[in-house]
């Protein structure tokens, strides 16, 4: 090796006269195919040399550029031994030569396949779809494997006959619905948490708040007529008795600031601060002839009952 190359190592720069110099290299399909020759510039990166060598062998690297190849590049050491895969693909060829890389390279072509947008190395040529999905970090319980443009899923435990470059698609099921619906407690023995979830499913913006031992349900964005109300949307807070649902919901708090064209909030009682916000208690109750019924009433029906207040209809004060 010319001393100028070694000298360049000290200042990390190749002498100008070598900059356009091309050298002859040998490459083979690792480990023991016939070596063929190609040329590369001393200033080429090892990644570029890797790609040129693959082109010389007529078998492109996978995945294709600009992705980093999953194939491996090695060099032949003395006594016909092979190096470990070269990991620093960014270094220039001349510097790699200085560091001991030889001109005899070997490309380890791996059994690289693609699932969706990802490339990976298959565990074996006869891997099953289950094994292939698992090797790509996909749960075979959640994904089915298809050939590209295939309409039927591949049988999960039937061995494949994999070729380098094969492409597959892994598709999930689409699950919708409610986990709680199927197991939802019978009306009258449900929890307020069940009801908040059901209310959310019904399109309300509801959340449970716990202050000390007292639970409240906050419901936001209730549409109200404006005028007479000063805003088109209201937030309400419903106190939940510890004995819910046998202990019924009753009345509610209205989030402040809120105004009414009459100058005061109808049925407004006293103001309290709960969860950092001011609320006015609204005296709005079920009629004696139609009291709370835990087998029939729940959070969603109570919100409907509270809406009646803003619409001036329904129940007595």
């Amino acid at each position: 090796m010319p001393e100028e190359l070694s000298a360049g190592q000290a200042h990390g720069k190749l002498a100008d006269r070598f900059r356009k110099k091309q050298i002859k290299l040998g490459v083979r399909e690792w480990p023991d195919a016939r070596e063929i020759h190609f040329k590369a510039s001393l200033t080429d990166s090892i990644a570029e040399v890797f790609a040129k060598g693959a082109n010389a062998l007529g078998e492109p690297l996978l995945p294709l550029a600009p992705q980093a190849p999953l194939d491996a590049l090695r060099y032949r050491k003395k006594r016909a031994q092979w190096s470990d895969p070269i990991t620093n693909l960014d270094q220039p060829l001349w510097l790699a030569l200085v560091h001991g890389v030889t001109r005899h390279l070997g490309i380890e072509y791996k059994l690289i396949v693609k699932i969706n947008t990802r490339w990976g190395v298959a565990p074996s040529p006869t891997a099953t779809p289950r094994e292939l999905l698992t090797s790509f970090g996909m749960n075979p319980q959640e994904f089915s494997l298809y050939t590209q443009d295939g309409v039927e899923p591949l049988l999960p435990d039937t061995p494949l006959s994999l070729q380098r470059g094969d492409c597959f698609e892994a598709q999930q099921d689409g699950k919708y619905g409610s986990t709680v619906t199927a197991s939802r407690a019978r009306r009258g023995s449900q929890t307020i948490e069940d009801d908040v979830e059901a209310t959310t499913e019904a399109g309300e913006t509801a959340r449970l708040i716990t202050v000390g031992s007292q639970k409240y349900v906050e419901v936001r964005d209730i549409n109200v007529p404006s005028p007479p109300w000063g805003k088109e949307r209201a937030s309400i807070l419903i106190a939940v008795p510890a004995t819910y649902p046998s202990g019924g919901l009753d009345a509610f708090y209205l989030g402040l600031p809120f105004t009414h064209s009459s100058g005061s909030i109808p049925n407004g009682q006293w103001t309290v601060i709960i969860d950092g916000r001011s609320w006015v208690l609204i005296s709005w109750h079920y009629h004696d002839s139609r009291p709370w019924n835990p087998l029939q009433d729940h959070l969603t029906t109570h919100i409907r009952h509270c809406r009646g207040f803003f619409l001036k209809r329904g129940v007595r004060q």
Binding site: N116, T117, R118, E142, F143, S144, Y146, D149, G150, V151, E152, P153, E169, A170, Q171, Q172, D173, G174, K175, Y176, G177, S178, T179, V180, T181, A182, R184, E197, T200, E201, A202, G203, E204
Partner: protein, 109 residues
Amino acid sequence: MLLVGRNTHPQRSSLLVREVLAPHEGDLKEQEHGAITFSSRYLGRALLRVRELGLAGFITVHTHPGCDTRVGFSPYDDSSDPELMANLYDLQPTGVFGSVVLGDRAAQG
């Protein structure tokens, strides 16, 4: 499933439904009260049809029976749908995918 194409109007871009892909027998793995599962085969068929027609993507549609003027995704929908959407975008990064839930007189997407 609603197979959609892009309307690339400069001021009012939108998605237009090109085709409704109804499920075939076996396309719905679960179809009980309160839950529905679109099989991967059904979703895959939608994706193949989207590619065949050169469309943008598809929208899954399911209903919440009992919801009238207000409807929203359930916590279960919210927990499972992002995974499905991530899967669809992994299959077709340039696609457009989404989901809609319907009540009797309301929709959310």
